[in-house]
Amino acid sequence: MQPDRVLAPFGRRMAPITAREQFGPYVVLRCEDPGGPRPQAGQFYMLQAARRWGGGDGERPFLPRAFSVLRAPPHTDDLHFLVEDVGPGTRRLCELQPRDALLLLGPLGVGFRRPAVGRRAILVGGGVGIAPLAIWQDELATILHDQPSASPLALLGFRDHDHARGSAILSDPLFATDDGSSGHHGFVTELLADQLALEGAVEVYACGPPGMLETVRALCEAHDVPAQLALESGMACGFGACFGCVVATRHGYVRLCVDGPVLDAAELEQVA
């Protein structure tokens, strides 16, 4: 008998938190992951607090939670994550301070693919869904450093003024708030619609709540513009083992954790 065989998944490791910053209701956690592979934009990690995971509302959380990588600065071991407190798991993560640690597994899943030649990237983020767009904006800047004219446009939407503080996380975004308390008064998808009316050779990268993504999908379909959507779904394992995270596509259910989280909008009948 080898009790130590009762193991967590391969590659789960401890990552000390090095910094914590607050942007309105959003918390940015920075941690160090010296052993781990470097992530690509759109990939995610399964995170949990190394201590006291559990004991929150309804005695939860139990499972680790999925988080897009917000930034992974080159030539460092750093990983940044953006967390909004929406339940017991995110609450616990938002409490963490430097000297606490994360248990993390990743990078996981398939991230964003480069825009087709000649198409400008438009990044559309809603709420905490701005996270994967930050690292994508960084990566695109590197990829496109010789074509400044092709530099991507970032359109962000937030509930209100306080949430809109999150807009500081990306470079030069245009943003909207639902209540008009700052930026454009309305939905970020209105900004996208305006932009699609002006400019056809674009490729859209979007992440946010399902309703927003469905609007993005429909708009891009109507304008015949390719779109890559980073979706969400409840996950247990994060690496394809449990089939818990499926979403319906035109070709049946796919596991979002291995076939996504970024899916081609064209794959989806609609975002549910």
Binding site: R5, L63, C242
Partner: protein
């Protein structure tokens, strides 16, 4: 480290995976060859394979509870043919005997699956997932001793490989079902499978899970699993694989102390 013999399978130690929670192919894709090189389990149990491909239940498929989860995955799988063609060769590369878990809703279906894997050298043993209603009688194979005996009478002659019957905890008297399985020729028993459970979408009277109800697993079921395992260990002579809420070494030891030969890790290995 000395090995052990489990129904003729030479195992390196006593901890294996539970069906459906650790996909070795997916793990290898995500984590690389270390999964094979440092394979943690003494045997590998596949996710349930059915005769025909299955899509599984509509999402959402997961609901988290205190110390566990409810899943309504619904046994998605490629079906016998595609599993044999594409998965089996990859699983045969694992450094551990392969146990294929199968399920069907008629005796004949289960028989076809058993016969198909009986012919495969790369399969060391079969596990019958009997948590499925018999489409003919409507009774769950695994919750009724007579149903289960009938199923085993049909499939037992089809293979010399060890047959492990995976019992459902959703039975009034699990020990009676276990005795029936032993009498009908099961070489080993495994338990528990998930316990039927349910959650409503917050603030509504609609079930949260796409499948309506689901199965509860994880530490939350540990005490119930231990009671059932203990009662089955006292009821039968065949070896038992203890499953249910194993998370720490002490949980595995508890099941071994209750009398099991092996312990399987489900939710926590996912």
């Amino acid at each position: 480290m000395s090995g052990l013999d489990f129904c003729g399978l030479a195992l390196a130690h006593r901890v294996i995976n539970a069906s459906g929670t650790f996909d070795a192919i997916a793990a290898r894709r995500a984590f690389g060859d270390q999964v094979v090189e440092r394979f943690p389990f003494a045997a590998y149990v596949t996710k349930t394979v059915t005769l025909e491909p299955r899509q599984g239940n509509p999402p959402p498929r997961l609901w988290e509870i205190a110390g566990g989860l409810i899943n309504s995955i619904g046994l998605p799988n490629k079906g016998l043919r595609e599993f044999t063609r594409s998965d089996l060769p990859q699983l045969a590369e694992l450094p551990a005997p392969l146990i294929v878990n199968v399920m069907g809703s008629t005796r004949e279906h289960v028989g076809e699956l058993v016969a198909a894997f009986a012919a495969r050298e790369d399969v060391a043993a079969l596990e019958l997932n009997v948590s499925c209603p018999n489409v003919a009688t409507g009774l769950e194979f695994g919750s009724d001793p007579a149903e289960l005996a009938g199923l085993l009478d049909h499939v037992r002659p089809l293979t010399d490989k060890p047959l492990i019957v995976k019992l459902t905890p959703n039975a009034g008297d699990v020990a009676a079902v276990a005795r029936a399985a032993e009498a009908a020729g099961a070489n080993a028993l495994s338990l528990i499978n998930t316990i039927r459970g349910m959650a409503l979408a917050p603030g509504s009277s609609e079930p949260w899970l796409g499948g309506g109800t689901g199965g509860v697993s994880g530490p939350a079921v540990r005490a119930v699993a231990l009671a059932q395992v203990h009662s089955v260990c006292s009821a039968v002579g065949v070896p038992i694989i203890g499953i249910g809420g194993v998370q720490r070494g002490s949980d595995a030891l508890d099941l071994l102390h209750a009398g099991t030969e092996l312990v399987a890790v489900g939710t926590f290995s996912g």
